[in-house]
């Protein structure tokens, strides 16, 4: 065989020749370039925070921050405008609570069914369907809330207004349900089989094993998934803009029109509030409030899943 003797050229020699001709040192350039790309995500966060802070400051220059936090009326378009954020916050919380009432039980039950009871075949059918449900654009859900859920609810409760908190609340719940189901299922599935077998071996039924052994073991993942999903509900925009109305108020009634923080921003943005007006800056103050709410919830979810990470 004698590799070396038959050859008319040497690969090593060719490599040496090529090497001497090399131009740019990619090894030095690329890490720096890639680091810059990674830094863009950080700049995005900084950009968001700075934007909100600067514009919100201008707003608080015109409207007292104390009034913003304490006043009970949000009437920016009135002749004597009033900027108390509470009605918008309450509108947002109404939606979030209704969504939680819908999404938490259904999502958790779905997660338990998929991870503990369903066969592999059933899982393979249901999980993609949940993914589809999670991937439907929110404007489609908004349309669905307005043109289907609201009329159906009004047949059941004739006192329900055309715009109300109930219908978009339920639909937001349906929207975040797949998130709870899929993240909780991940948490349940990652509970080791040996722990379940321990309970089965004592004669526990599947339900007892699930509720007394598996759920407690996966609790941090489940709670984190719920917190994350509710943070989504708080930031949800189109469903509430389309079906929730634009009447900020402090009442606890879910049958009448409301306005959420997000819906207010949409209302101002789609009407042409002139650049530089107090109304224009108010959307940043509302955005800031929204950002703080969701940031706290996201950090909370991360804290829960990191701090109480199960030790199997």
């Amino acid at each position: 065989m004698e590799l070396r003797k038959t050859e008319t050229y040497s690969v090593q020699q060719m490599i040496l020749e090529k090497k001497s001709k090399k131009k740019i040192n990619m090894e030095k350039v690329m890490p720096k370039l890639l680091f810059l790309m990674a830094a863009i995500s950080v700049f995005t966060t900084i950009g968001i925070i700075l934007t909100l802070i600067f514009e919100t400051f201008i707003f608080f220059d015109r409207v007292s921050i104390v009034k913003f936090l304490t006043e009970a009326k949000w009437l920016p378009f009135a002749s004597t405008p009033s900027y108390g954020i509470m009605p918008l916050v309450i509108g947002t919380l109404k939606i979030t609570v209704i969504a939680a009432v819908v999404a938490v039980p259904i999502g958790l039950a779905t997660a338990i069914f998929l991870s503990e009871y369903a066969s592999e075949k059933t899982r393979r059918i249901i999980k993609p369907i949940l993914e589809v449900l999670a991937g439907i654009p929110t404007i489609v859900y908004g349309f669905f809330a307005l043109t289907f859920v609201t009329p159906v609810l009004r047949d059941l409760f004739p006192s329900l207004d055309m715009f109300n908190a109930l219908s978009p609340g339920i639909v937001v719940g349906i929207m975040i349900m797949p998130m709870i189901a899929s993240l909780s299922e991940d948490a349940l599935v990652s509970v080791p089989k040996s722990i379940r077998e321990g309970a089965y071996a004592l004669g526990a039924t599947k339900l007892e094993t699930t509720i007394k052994v598996v759920l407690p073991a996966a609790i941090s993942g489940i709670v984190a998934s719920i917190v994350l999903a509710l943070s989504r509900a708080i930031g949800e925009t189109m469903i509430v803009s389309v079906a929730g109305g634009s009447t900020p108020n402090m009442s606890m009634d879910v049958t009448s029109s409301i306005q959420t923080m997000t819906a207010y921003i949409v209302q101002v943005s789609s009407g042409d509030a002139g650049y530089g007006t107090t109304i224009y800056y108010s959307i940043y103050a509302v955005g800031m409030t929204l950002f703080v709410f969701t940031l706290i919830m996201n950090l909370l979810a991360q804290f829960i899943s990191r701090k109480f990470r199960e030790e199997y």
Partner: protein, 292 residues
């Protein structure tokens, strides 16, 4: 003396098993809720919209008269948006993922970047709209252009792409990297010639899912100030435009019943586009699954 009365335990057993069966049924019913809602949603939208869905609808511009309203500008606009979002978000997302997985040292900067990305993923989309309005539309004076909207959307979907690309890169076996290093390849050569090609299916799947999120988003574009009613086609990325979800939002918020049918027709077009993109993602996933 026995502490456990076996006959008592045995007597309770049928009850416990019955409870188990009942609860299993309840869990199953809850699982069905999602499926039923999805079925109703599709059925409703299909029956509402199919009447308006015809060749004219695809070829007409928006109109004040529902029977003449069309989706041409919005459909083309959505495609224009993708022309900006796809390259920008993929380049930044994959670059960031490569940095984090291959180059980043374990220090506080890296930790900070990672925490930042997971938090960014949780920021409501409408807040990205405020960022886009302030930075791209006003500060950089890009106005309400495709570019301004596209950059805003790119930042919005960036975390999704980063996470997907990180997972895809992490899944490339160490063996392959070692083989490449063993031949005298440099780190960048190894990444470019071995790691990335092996990670492409995962990156593409995540990328398409991220793009389908961008194509369905409305809120940030409303805030950026993209018009909802437009009767011309954009020529460059500096032109203004509208997209499918904006057009649907506009029709939905009209009081006339007929516009709701037009909105439903628009939703059908949007959903078909999404199903098409997702099928490609699934195809890629299935084709390249389990290669190592």
């Amino acid at each position: 003396m026995k502490l456990i009365n076996k006959s008592q335990v045995a007597k309770k057993m049928p009850v416990r098993l019955a409870v188990n069966t009942v609860c299993k049924g309840l869990f199953f019913l809850a699982t069905l809720v999602g499926l039923i809602v999805l079925a109703i949603l599709f059925y409703r939208i299909f029956t509402q919209g199919i009447g308006s869905l015809n060749g004219d609808f695809l070829q007409n511009f928006a109109s004040r008269k529902p029977e003449e309203a069309g989706i041409k500008a919005a459909l083309i606009g959505s495609i224009w948006l993708m022309v900006v979002v796809a390259p920008v978000s993929l380049l930044l997302g994959v670059g960031t993922a490569i940095y984090l997985e291959e180059y980043a040292r374990k220090n506080w900067i890296t930790t900070f970047i990672k925490v930042n990305i997971s938090n960014l993923a949780g920021v409501p989309s409408i807040v990205f709209g405020l960022l886009g309005l302030t930075v791209f539309v006003r500060a950089l004076a890009l106005d309400r252009s495709i570019l301004a909207a596209g950059l805003t959307m790119s930042l919005l979907v960036l975390p999704v792409i980063i996470v997907a690309a990180q997972e895809a890169i992490r899944a490339v076996p160490r063996d392959l990297r070692e083989a490449s290093f063993g031949m005298g390849a440099t780190k960048w050569q190894t990444i470019l010639k071995v790691v990335l090609p092996a990670a492409v299916p995962g990156i593409l799947t995540g990328g398409i899912l991220a793009l389908s999120r961008a194509i369905g988003e409305t809120a940030p574009l409303v805030v950026v100030g993209i018009p909802m009613f437009i009767a011309f086609l954009p020529q460059t990325v500096m032109d203004t435009f509208t997209v499918l979800p904006m057009q649907i939002y506009n029709w939905t918020s009209r009081p006339q019943e007929e516009f709701q049918q037009v909105a439903a027709a628009g939703i059908i077009v949007l959903l078909i586009l999404l199903i098409f993109m997702n099928s490609i993602a699934v195809l890629i996933r299935n084709k390249f699954q389990k290669r190592y």
